[in-house]
Assembly symmetry: C2
Homo-oligomer: 166 residues x 2
């Protein structure tokens, strides 16, 4: 069943922040966003994959996971300072900032499964050698982060792929 792709959009002025090795226990994610909210930083997309392999570490062991989110480019310096100041409360190993990220989104309707749309979209970008840095979804939308310099090309590819006017 061919999903209907209703639209494609690209937010080109995003900056990406990744915190590595956050402890996978209650309160850590809250500790990341509280100071950012307090500082009025505009956060757009958040993606955190699950800590895995905890069982291998032994019963009761706390796993670790990474967290990526985007902020408005003009908020990057402020967000970075915020997180550096809150480092002890949050508890992370690394803080990585990328100034030129673009968020590319595909909106589908009646997407019973994200798998079909994702594989077609990801395949098209892969053929153009465009790397997918992060992925975040909702029921009707798949958003990915790529490098800003690939944004226009990626939009053209997807518009062509889905037969939408670019």
């Amino acid at each position: 069943e061919k999903e209907k792709i209703r639209g494609i959009s690209c937010a080109e002025k995003e900056a990406k922040i990744t915190l590595t090795r956050l402890q996978d226990k209650p309160g850590v994610a809250a500790a990341v966003f509280a100071p950012l909210a307090k500082a009025g930083v505009i956060v757009d997309m958040i993606a955190q994959s699950a800590a895995a392999g905890k069982a291998a570490a032994g019963a009761g062991a706390i796993g670790a996971t990474d967290l990526t989110f985007t902020v408005a480019r003009q908020d990057l310096a402020r967000a970075k300072r915020c997180l550096e100041e809150a480092r002890a409360q949050i508890g992370y190993e690394g803080l990585f900032c990328e100034e030129s990220a673009a968020k590319l989104s595909v909106v589908g309707i009646a997407m019973r499964s994200q798998a079909g749309v994702a594989s077609v979209m990801f395949r098209a970008l892969a053929e153009a050698k465009i790397n997918i840095h992060a992925i975040s979804t909702s029921e009707i939308k798949i958003s990915i982060l790529i490098e800003s310099r690939h944004a226009k090309k990626a939009l053209r590819i997807l518009h062509q792929l889905y037969g939408l006017d670019g």
Copy 2:
């Protein structure tokens, strides 16, 4: 500015899959979802944080990142077989499956920044010692994965927090 929370929902029959140490190069994500799409597996939420620290590994080094996604619980065994068969094409270190995951979502309108909603929502769950396994967002929605056994409690907490009828 207090964001308006329009609704809270919980998908209780999700199963969660995490692939660890995927190579951060074009084509890998496509290789994950192509066989799943072919097998008709229903994929709901996808969350991938960005590979970080590549610079530390040296120019031209390929980073690694983890990827978490959910499938309908009845598709878990089939999805697992799919990914095991495609292991060489995808290239991952570990494949971790969790049968009882629940996806909790908060829908907001006029969420200029996700930071405010995220910090309040995450703080409330942290106080109840509910761990957030994964996070995925769209402009109007924040979805998190938690353990199924916390679903009812988490819903009650958020309904109370936002003054919505539980």
